[in-house]
């Protein structure tokens, strides 16, 4: 059966730019324009524009405690200050990750929940099924989302939209008028660089795309570059590094889980904490230019001890880097491993995250 792909409002622009398009999370998305490495380099040095309209956005309005919203996620929603956002998870009963997401505190009784594209329908159903009050709405189709990322992104934003943008700290957002409509401008992103996520009504997103590209410091970048950029700074990709079979404890993401509050999956995580996990996430660098890739085996002394979940040739480091899961006893920094797949074999060493440490994200 052929998959029915959804198109973002920017789709015609991608085609006009001759982008290589491919399915991603049920959407027809641009993978690259001029080339993944060129786009990656532009984002690390200038400002890159990403069409992220495929991601899901939900709005909840109501009393967080009364409606049960407070007990759904691995972090407290009501403790997020107004104008701030927080990253965390919605888990299943076994502690597996249904999705990783960011919640934006828009008002005392209102939040926007931003989720991955492929998981958006199941996320909406899971959250709705756990709520018993309030008004919960999927605004994905009505919402456009563009990410402007790179060390020059603040300068570009200020030039186009005024000084107000310059004052937004990391993981804070403001609501402001852009192109005559109300937009949310957030200091968040997925590249490890200084950057913004802009949420604007879908009917205005093409106009915003065109406007941002009038600045010569801005070039479009596709999902290919986005994947390299996020992996160089060690961000997890849902569906590759984390999924419903993986808990935050195994994935090294315990810092986004608040055990002082109730949430679905907590009992399973507490049990797992006591028993100890059977596998744990590692980051590793390979010797040389070969790329580790998703599903390659991780071996130690000739035996398969785990698997690669993300891997890439890092253009900025000039070597292959990856994330994978292995037995806990092999996670010490410096542990030698072999990555293998069919005829391919490469020597690797367990290392710290992020791989690339000089990003401008907090500048």
């Amino acid at each position: 059966m052929e998959e029915q792909l959804q198109a973002t409002p920017i789709c015609s622009r991608h085609r006009a730019l001759n982008a290589l398009m491919a399915p991603f999370g049920g959407w027809d998305m641009p993978i690259q324009y001029e080339g993944i490495i060129a786009e990656h380099n532009w984002c690390r040095t200038k400002a890159s524009l990403f069409d992220i309209c495929h991601m899901g956005e939900f709005i909840f309005e109501g009393d967080f405690d009364d409606a049960g919203l407070e007990d759904i996620f691995t972090f407290s929603v009501k403790s997020i200050p107004l104008g701030r956002s927080r990253y965390g998870f919605i888990l299943n009963e076994q502690g597996g990750i249904i999705d990783d997401l960011i919640i934006f505190r828009i008002a005392v009784d209102k939040v926007m929940i931003v989720v991955n594209a492929a998981t958006a329908p199941k996320d909406f159903a899971a959250i709705k099924g756990r709520l018993h009050g309030g008004v919960f709405t999927d605004i994905t189709a009505a919402t456009g989302k563009l990410d402007l990322q790179g060390p020059l992104s603040r300068d570009v934003m200020v030039a186009l939209f005024g000084e107000e943008v310059a004052t937004i700290p990391y993981f804070k957002f403001i609501t402001m008028n852009i192109l005559g409509v109300e937009a949310i401008v957030s200091r968040t992103g997925y590249t490890g660089e200084l950057g913004y996520e802009i949420f604007i009504p879908a009917e205005k997103v093409c106009e915003l795309w065109d406007l941002l590209l009038t600045d010569e410091r801005v070039k479009p970048a596709g999902l290919g570059a986005r994947d390299v950029l996020r992996l160089e700074v060690g961000y997890s990709l849902y569906g590759s590094d984390i999924d419903e079979e993986t808990t935050p404890l195994e994935a090294g993401l315990e810092c986004f889980v608040n055990f002082d509050k109730a949430f679905i999956g907590k009992e399973a995580l507490l049990r797992l904490k006591e028993q100890g996990v059977a596998r744990k996430k590692i980051a590793f660098e390979v010797t040389g230019r070969r790329s580790p890739r998703h599903h390659y085996d991780i071996c130690s002394t000739g035996k398969v001890v785990g698997n690669v979940t993300s891997g890439v040739f890092s253009p900025i480091l000039g070597r292959g880097v990856g994330i994978g899961f292995v037995k806990p006893e092999l996670t010490t920094i410096g542990t030698p491993l072999t990555i293998s797949h069919e005829r391919v074999s490469m020597e690797a060493t367990v290392c710290e995250l992020p791989f690339f440490k000089d990003g401008s994200v907090r500048n």
Partner: protein, 123 residues
Amino acid sequence: MSMYFTKEHEWVKVAGNVGTIGISDHAAHELGDITFVELPKIGTVVTQFGVLGSIESVKAASDIYSPLSGKVLKVNESLETAPEVVNESAEDAAWMAQIEIADEVELKNLMTQEQYYDYLKTL
């Protein structure tokens, strides 16, 4: 010098009994940014359509197959440190290996340049 192609998008330029091998512009374009080239060892004996080496891009990894049987005489070591040359000049500067051709009869299993371009239109 005549140039022949495989269905897997390798080329061989034949001069006397020496064949120079690389991948086509089309293959390089399809792979995108090339990040790694694995070359054979000098002296290796390869068979027609057998594995000669491999090539990796940000997007994919694939084997390179030898268009002809023979013994590897020379390899283009510069590709080990500058694999991006494959994107810039796949059918010239980014040659990968030279072999001593074992049997010219095998050329009948390859496409001419014209046949290869026709073949690309069918993909």
